[in-house]
């Protein structure tokens, strides 16, 4: 595959855009269908494997306008139905098409406070873009209007202008809200509650705020300066951020409410203990949860071997178990750390993979080898207890299960051994256990997630709300943000009557 430079893509787009703008008659639907979907400019695969910089470079101005012109501006706007936070998608896309970027960003910000992040990490192909009429007309969801890339474009434009003013904050109300965690749900709650004039303290266990945006999603997919800017915005609004503070241990949730004077608490503590396969050999040296591997690489910056003191396992051949975004992130990070071979083992097929289409494509381009319809059965170690191989078994697809996906069935006698020195397990997380263990009366599900009202985030305890992965299990940034929005509205309403 040849690699087109950003300059080439922009020049091509510029020529097509100029031709379209020069036309006297307005664009009809069939004209819009003829505009080719704009490819995302990116670092060449061979280059980016060796660095940590962002892979997708973002549309140029002509590419963005051209892509936006592909939108039919459907009256019924099915894309909005697909968006968890109901962004006015035709509105902001049209503003980009007409080169009114300030308006585009204003429309986005009515519903999302993190467009630069969501534009990069949302699974658009199963949300807004899945519903897109253009994609349907072209019978290919990947040919839908690139809503996510346009969202990113508008947000990046605003950031580069340096004109993003922090949202206005109403006069102080004298009321105090504690926000536990600093990931997407918590950032949203902090901003929305602070806007109403309530004092907000955000508690983060790590030494830096940002949650999964910092420790989980790698730099090459979400540059940390973007997360830092969102945090800086919160600080500029007057949100107090306390790092190195783990609620449940440093102070309990009850102490925050009863002794420290908080009028409400939002729990956005996120993911907890990593799930393992429960197969023999999982505690061998060289087996890591994706959480640990990525935290070392991202938050602790172990990729910077000259400067970081946090070590990361020196791997030559890596097996990654799982098929989600986290599995892709771990596999691609392993390449960047210096692994010669990375094998991704997933027991279903690519169609069932929960990872974003773009991440799967990027992983393949970078040389991650996909082993589909296979599963790890046992990890084998040497005499020092270090991983030396993994035994896998082949699967075939059987009848659909309750999720509608065809259930993978083990093919008896198909076991085989693959030599690897590292295994990264990326099959999800349990919710964080600390708050559940240390808060009496807080009701949880049998999976350990906190039970919260869908519309308000209200938990079984008065003045205590929750949202994000701690409620949903493993979900997405945008769903966490949506939950944060609803919880913040409920907290603001409750505080107004208090």
């Amino acid at each position: 595959m040849t690699h087109a430079t950003p300059e080439t893509l922009e020049a091509e787009a510029r020529a097509q855009l100029d031709a379209l703008l020069a036309r006297a008659e307005p664009l009809k639907a069939k004209d819009r269908l003829k505009i080719p979907p704009q490819p995302m400019p990116s670092q060449p695969a061979a280059v980016r494997r060796g660095n940590i910089e962002e892979v997708a470079l973002g549309f140029g101005p002509a590419q963005a306008r051209l892509e936006a012109l592909r939108c039919w501006q459907c009256k019924n706007a099915p894309c909005i139905e697909g968006c968890p936070v109901r962004i006015d998608i035709p509105g902001f896309v049209r503003a980009i098409a007409e080169n009114r970027l300030e308006e585009a960003i204003a429309i986005l910000k009515r519903n999302t406070i993190l467009p630069a992040i969501c534009g990069r990490v949302c699974p658009q192909e199963t949300q807004c873009q899945e519903k897109c009429t253009v994609g349907k007309a072209l019978k290919d969801v990947n040919a839908a209007v690139a809503i996510g890339r346009l969202e990113r474009y508008a947000a990046d434009w605003e950031r580069e202008q340096g004109c993003a003013a922090p949202p206005a904050v109403k006069p102080e109300t004298g009321k105090k809200v504690a926000v536990i965690g600093s990931g997407p749900a918590s950032i949203t709650v902090a901003a929305d509650v602070r806007r109403e004039g309530h004092a907000v303290t955000m508690f983060e266990a790590f030494h830096k705020p940002g949650g999964v945006l910092l420790y989980g999603i790698p730099e090459f997919r979400l540059p940390k300066r973007i997360v830092e800017l969102e945090i800086a915005t919160l600080r500029a609004m007057g949100v107090e951020i306390r790092t190195n503070f783990v609620v449940g241990r440093t102070r309990t949730l009850r102490q925050l409410l009863d002794e420290d004077g908080y009028d409400a608490v939002f729990i956005g503590a996120g993911a907890g203990l990593p799930k393992f396969m429960n197969i023999p050999g999982e505690n061998l040296v060289g087996v890591f949860s994706a959480n640990e591997y990525l935290t070392r690489a991202n938050l602790m910056r172990a990729y910077d071997k000259a400067r970081a003191h946090t070590p990361i396992y020196p791997s030559r051949k890596v097996a990654v178990l799982g098929g989600g975004n986290v599995a892709m992130d771990a596999a691609r990070m392993a390449l960047r750390i210096g692994a010669e071979e990375v094998h991704l083992v997933y027991r279903r097929t690519e169609v069932e993979m929960p990872a974003r289409v773009e991440e799967v494509a990027h992983a393949k381009e970078e040389g991650v080898e996909f082993h589909l319809l296979q599963n790890a059965k046992r990890i084998l170690g040497d005499e020092y207890g270090r991983v030396k191989a993994i035994e896998c078994v082949r699967y075939e697809l059987g009848e659909p299960d309750e999720s509608g996906r065809r259930r993978p069935v083990e093919v008896k006698g198909s076991e085989f051994v693959m030599d690897v020195d590292t295994v990264i397990v990326a099959i999800g997380n349990e919710p964080n256990p600390l708050i559940r263990q240390t808060t009496e009366g807080l009701q949880t599900s049998r999976w350990g997630t906190i039970l919260a009202d869908e519309a308000t985030g209200q938990t079984s305890l008065e003045r205590v709300y929750a949202g994000g992965d701690i409620v949903l299990g493993a979900a997405t940034v945008i769903l966490a943000m949506g939950e944060g929005r609803r919880a913040a509205a409920a907290i603001n309403a409750m505080l107004a009557t208090r």
Binding site: G272, N283, L284, F288, P311, N429
Partner: protein, 286 residues
């Protein structure tokens, strides 16, 4: 930032820092630990046990042996200096109740986390017998503090330069043979010591608690790096521990896992000796 209000060198390799951390000082209970990071940008996060706390003064006491990069950096900090990040208290507190006679065995730096546990056991009304061991007299720490708590104190060194010339397992075995035998043993020290303490008490059926110090990143139940095999099950030291039934812990797996980053640690160790200008310590344990 956490100001260092007191610094003492307890032995060639062991340092004591009393650090301002009012919330941790108020909340901590015996058996708990903190995660410390010397700098936010490139520093590593390491677990250190809390040797003591003074809630009124708002300070906690950390006692550590210089082994890796961060402990060297901490050892180089002056009194009045500050540690950038301290998180805690972490882990489940020790289960303390009156059971009768409790033998507390501490090896090397393990005497530090044992100190608040022995204190708690004594306060709960137990008869407390304390065994402390070290390679030589210079490495014996907290002897006076432990004597103040103990109903009976036994000091032993590998070379006989202080107390008995014995490994801690020798007096532990004798104590198990007494009648009545101890009701509980608590052993904290290097994994190999805890392993043999557990083997010593096993035939006598003396319940034995060990406190594990493993590799950790977050310390709050997220990374899973601290997992250990206990009774055939995977457990997490940071949220299920740090204390476990010593008769159930797979120490061999624990020791292998502790060596995960050994080559890298050795490289960093060399480098920080050069950077920090610390003289090579003789007889450093691997």
């Amino acid at each position: 930032m956490h100001r260092i209000v007191q610094k003492r060198q307890l032995s060639d390799e062991v340092f004591l820092l009393r650090v301002e951390a009012p919330l941790i000082a108020a909340a901590r209970r015996p058996g708990q630990f903190v995660i410390v990071q010397a700098d936010s940008e490139f520093g590593e996060r390491i677990p250190l046990t809390i040797a003591d706390a003074d809630p009124a003064a708002g300070t906690i006491t950390l006692i550590f042996q210089v082994v890796g990069h961060t402990t060297h950096r901490l050892a180089a900090l002056p009194e009045g200096g500050a540690i950038e990040n301290v998180l805690g208290p972490l882990g489940r507190p020790t289960h303390i109740e009156k059971v009768g006679t409790v033998v507390c065995v501490g090896g090397g730096i393990g005497v530090a986390p044992l100190h608040p546990i022995a204190q708690g056991m004594k306060l709960a009304g137990n008869r407390v017998v304390i065994v402390i061991g070290a390679r030589n007299a210079k490495l014996v720490i907290l002897e006076d503090e432990m004597r103040a708590i103990a109903d009976e104190l036994i000091v032993c060194t590998d070379d006989g330069s202080r107390g008995r010339k014995a490994l801690v397992t020798a007096p532990l075995k004798e104590l198990c043979e007494r009648s009545p035998k101890p009701d509980l043993a608590v052993a904290i020290g290097p994994p190999i010591m805890m392993k043999f303490c557990a083997e010593t008490t096993r035939p006598y059926g003396v319940p034995t608690v060990v406190s594990l110090n493993t590799i950790m990143v977050d310390g709050t139940g997220m990374c899973g790096g601290c997992r250990v095999t206990v009774g055939g099950q995977t457990r997490f030291v940071c949220v299920d521990g740090p204390e476990f039934d010593g008769h159930q812990v797979d120490f061999d797996n624990l020791m292998q896992r502790l060596r995960t980053y050994k080559p890298r640690e050795d490289e960093l160790h060399e480098r920080c000796h050069l950077e920090l200008g610390i003289a090579r310590l003789e007889g450093r344990r691997p």
